[in-house]
Amino acid sequence: MNGLAANMMGTARLLVPEFILIFAASLLVLWACFASAVSPEARQKLRTKSVLFGAITLIVAGATYFLAPGNVTLDPARVAFLNDALAQVLRPAGFIVGLVLLIFLAEQLHPRYAAEQVACLLLLVAGMNLVATANDSIALFVSLELVSIPTYILLYLSRTDSAGLEATAKYFLLSIFSSAFVLYGLSIFMGAAGSTNFVWLKQSLAEPTGMVSVGLLQIAVAMVIAGLGFRITAVPFHFYAPDVFQGTTTPMAGLLAVLPKFVGFAALLRLVWSIVLTKDLNPAFAALTVPAPEALAILAIVTMTVGNVLALLQNDLRRLLAYSSVAHAGYMLVGLAVLPDTSAEFSGAQAVLFYLLIYAMMTLGVFGTLLLLKKNGKPIETVHDIDGIGSTSPLLALVLAIFLFSLTGLPPTGGFWGKFNLFLAAWSTGSSTMRFLAFGLAINAAIAGWYYLRLVRRAYLHPQTEAVTFEANRSPALTAVVALGALLILGLFFFPNPLWQLLAQAG
């Protein structure tokens, strides 16, 4: 009994930062019910206050995370949440990404429901961090839903015209569909393990019990991967992405490009990669399963190729970036296909995490740069809108070029090391499937070069066609974030080691 209480107390202490976020979000929504929002001035005030409140909450929660007495020793077999190495990487990243996204959202807030929007973002960050710590099927599922539901609301509040509604409906329906997949898969796992705890799950998969057929377990793995594939926009679960990205606002598109990737890969690494697919499993299960590296490799290569080829055809910027985010999911799946028990000397998971963090920086960087630009007071929509910014706003164009070259994977940017580590992990397995995959990655990086370069070309090589005025939107916070991101991306090229070491344990 004592042990149980200690574990529960420990878990509670562990999750204090997330509790703060959830509590603050609830307060914000309550406050918004009573806050006056009749006059334009009052609405403006409401917006400012909400954003400030959100920022302070995120900073406080982040500070609590760092200041809280860590290292509560918990029994992994008994707790639902665990602050292990993976969580220790993803949780701080979550607070930072949340803060950046708040700054993005502040650019295009709903006139009336700003407080609700900010509250949803706080809940999202909490959900994302909980996914990173989940050590239990039910905890994982609940955390995943804590990410999904605020996303629906945010999508709806961000843009209420017909395009926005279409995007929201699409995302809503497909998201529910994918949640059902995950839930179904998790329930089969629970049946096999007799427990929802991941440690038990791993043990019972290793020891044959005869309770659950191997075929059923395979279906469960496929279902979980499919359900999480929706979040990371793996092909063929990517169909919603371009429509939703196009139909919503730029800040929301940035959020959708980054947050679900964090969530999806955290869950994949936690559950599928380190538990279900390791080879110290029930020999019967291991023998009968579709060879996992091959299956993941096919998923990876199809995802990156479809994403890249379709991105070549896009003229709408957010649509293009949606396909680009599909392609990047494919790159990261390469690292996932390098399973922990293969002879690889380099950890695939470490490469995935490294790429994930760099991907977040460069993608948010691109979206941030686009937010900084306005054409005749309106947001940037198509690739033609950035024509000639190389001569009118040279610094912004340079920053955009840095992010785009990083997405391509060219030196001197952090994106180069991101792709390099994936290459290295895939090659070092020594399997010919993985080498083929690495080759596919190289070809895809070149295809991607074409459409990222197209944006650079439009920015630098094209004259401005009409009398279009660009006023660099004067938002000091956003400018600072974008500038910092560009410096980080450049800095990571010259000094990649600190970040890599940080991920050593988590990988």
Partner: protein, 554 residues
């Protein structure tokens, strides 16, 4: 830590930042600043060259490469379970092969700045900033002794050149820049895979070795191939086949070898003069240098099995095809661009002869081509600035109007076509002799390329300089001759052409130890019926070069 080399490499990048900060409002200051920076870099390069001591053959008896002025610091460290961490290093140095290319780069960049003085009028600061960044990239490639560092510099040169062609180029500039970028990017990404494969396979064979350092890899590969284990050798034979093809993808596009050359004439024609000069003079050398620095020491079996037949065949085709294409051009710049395809064929033919004459000739040909084609592009740019046309049909009779220009053009053409006494002759002859000793057939066919070369170059001289002036030229009126700045851009290049032509021995001596070391690797891997010894001696050269016989006699 060698500060001199580091400062030389990164001074232009620093200059680029200063130039960019200066902004385009005061173009004159920007130009002067850029000239100052490139001149300072040239001075540093010359200091490096004078401080460089020819590697002693004893050192290279044990090692395949032995760079000097070395800087090594850890860049990216991968920890591994139960083993030492793997390091990617910032490993800079210089050896007999790269030293001349470094000086060539520094020299041509100065000329490129001078020739852009009045030709570039828009976004001046940006232009010179990109140019200086490009110089850092090019110098870096030649000084990199770590595989990844090499690749990073190699790939990085794409970005500045993309902007130089794309912003300041001709009418089709955007298409040209895009094609150039994507073509080379695709190739070099495949090369990266090949490079990783080399590192990881060497490690797989000998788990104690896990290094990205080029000299250490070459050494280890040499050791492994010296083993008598037939299984290991068979394994390496098949592995190196694919690895060579992967490296080939990147370097053959960069050289460019036929049929991967299609981006080149386009990029050359569209690029501003300075871009063309650096593209032809230095950037194409990155491809042949890649073969020389990476493929040849690291993949000897692959080079012998697939490299020689593939590269030699494509080079010979390129020599003839490029020559005939040049012959049919009416646009001067396009003509010179195609002549590049042809001339680099000779260079590659020399390198892949795999004996000391050939490698020395090929390496020298890299320098020669940089000088003579660089000069030709400079001259084409100068005449274009005056006439606003590059069509040979719009010229004619220029010799009486612009005599200094005409003399320079004739000189550059003679150097390019390989007239004895000028640089082209030495390189081409050594390359062909080297190849003749192993594959006479290729040489016989390639020799026709020299004749075609003389044909199209003399044809160009005839159409441009002699005969009657075209109506357009007469309508144009007075054409000013070269001014002091333009002569300053050309003079050092022409002086070097002459110097290498008359006294090639010092240049060959500098690289001799490295070339010999490479040739030794291949000495027992080739069946060379004529081979008496692996290394060329002065007698070999003396037979070729009358000038040297005197020196040898002394």
């Amino acid at each position: 830590m060698n500060l001199l080399l580091i400062v030389m490499i990164f001074l232009p990048a620093l200059g680029a930042i200063l130039v960019a900060l200066e902004g385009s409002n005061r173009p004159e200051t920007v130009r002067k600043l850029a000239l100052f920076v490139t001149l300072a870099t040239l001075v540093l390069a010359v200091i490096v060259a004078t401080k460089y001591e020819t590697t002693s053959p004893e050192v290279l008896a044990d090692e395949i490469m032995s760079p000097q002025m070395v800087t090594r610091t850890t860049w990216f460290e991968f920890e591994r379970a139960g083993a030492d961490p793997v390091k990617i290093e910032a490993y800079l140095g210089i050896d007999g092969i790269s030293i001349m290319l470094v000086v060539l780069t520094a020299l041509l960049t100065v000329s490129a700045v001078l020739v852009s003085w009045t030709a570039i009028n828009v976004r001046v600061a940006e232009f010179f900033a990109w140019m200086l960044i490009l110089e850092t990239g090019m110098l870096g490639v030649f000084c990199a002794f770590d595989l990844i560092l090499f690749y990073v510099f190699f790939e990085f040169t794409l970005i500045p050149l993309f902007f130089i062609i794309g912003i300041w180029g001709d009418t089709q500039r955007e298409y040209a820049a895009g094609k150039f970028f994507i073509y080379t990017l695709t190739g070099s990404l495949i090369s990266l895979l090949g490079l990783l494969a080399v590192v990881l396979t060497v490690h797989a064979v000998n788990p104690a070795v896990f290094t990205f350092s080029i000299p250490e890899l070459a050494q280890e590969m040499h050791r492994q191939l010296a083993s008598a284990d037939p299984e290991l050798l068979a394994f390496w034979k098949s592995a190196q086949f694919w690895m060579f093809l992967a490296l080939f993808a990147g370097f053959a596009i960069k050289v460019p070898l036929f049929p991967f050359h299609t981006w080149l004439p386009l990029a050359h024609v569209e690029a501003p003069t300075a871009g063309s000069v650096l593209l032809a003079g230095v950037l194409l050398k990155l491809g042949s240098y890649g073969f020389l620095r990476l493929a040849m020491p690291l993949l000897p079996l692959g080079v012998v099995d697939i490299g020689v037949p593939l590269v030699a065949t494509l080079s010979v085709i390129g020599i003839l095809y490029g020559g005939f294409c040049a012959l049919s051009q009416r646009d001067m710049k396009r003509l010179v661009a195609y002549s590049s395809v042809s001339h680099l064929g000779f260079c590659m033919l020399g390198l892949f002869a795999l004996n000391a004459e050939g490698i020395a000739g090929g390496t020298l040909q890299m320098i020669n081509h940089g000088l003579s084609t660089g000069a030709l592009f400079l001259l084409v740019g100068m005449i274009y600035e005056r006439l606003h046309t590059r069509q040979l049909d719009d010229m004619g009779g220029l010799a009486t109007r612009v005599p200094i220009f005409s003399i320079c053009l004739i000189f550059a053409c003679l150097s390019s076509m390989g007239l004895p006494g000028l640089n082209g002759f030495v390189g081409e002859t050594l390359s062909l002799i080297g190849m003749f000793r192993v594959h006479p057939g290729f040489t016989v066919i390639a020799t026709f390329g020299i004749i075609i070369g003389a044909w199209y170059l003399l044809n160009m001289i005839r159409l441009a300089l002699f005969g009657t002036a075209s109506k357009k030229l007469i309508a144009h009126g007075h054409v000013p001759d070269l001014n002091g700045r333009e002569i300053a851009a050309l003079a050092p290049i022409m002086a070097l052409c002459l110097l290498i032509g008359v006294f090639p021995q010092p240049f060959l001596d500098v690289m001799k130890p490295e070339v010999d070391a490479l040739a030794t690797i291949y000495a027992d891997k080739l069946s060379d019926p004529l081979a008496v010894e692996a290394t060329p001696t002065n007698e070999h050269l003396a037979a070729v070069l009358p000038i040297n016989s005197r020196e040898a006699a002394r």
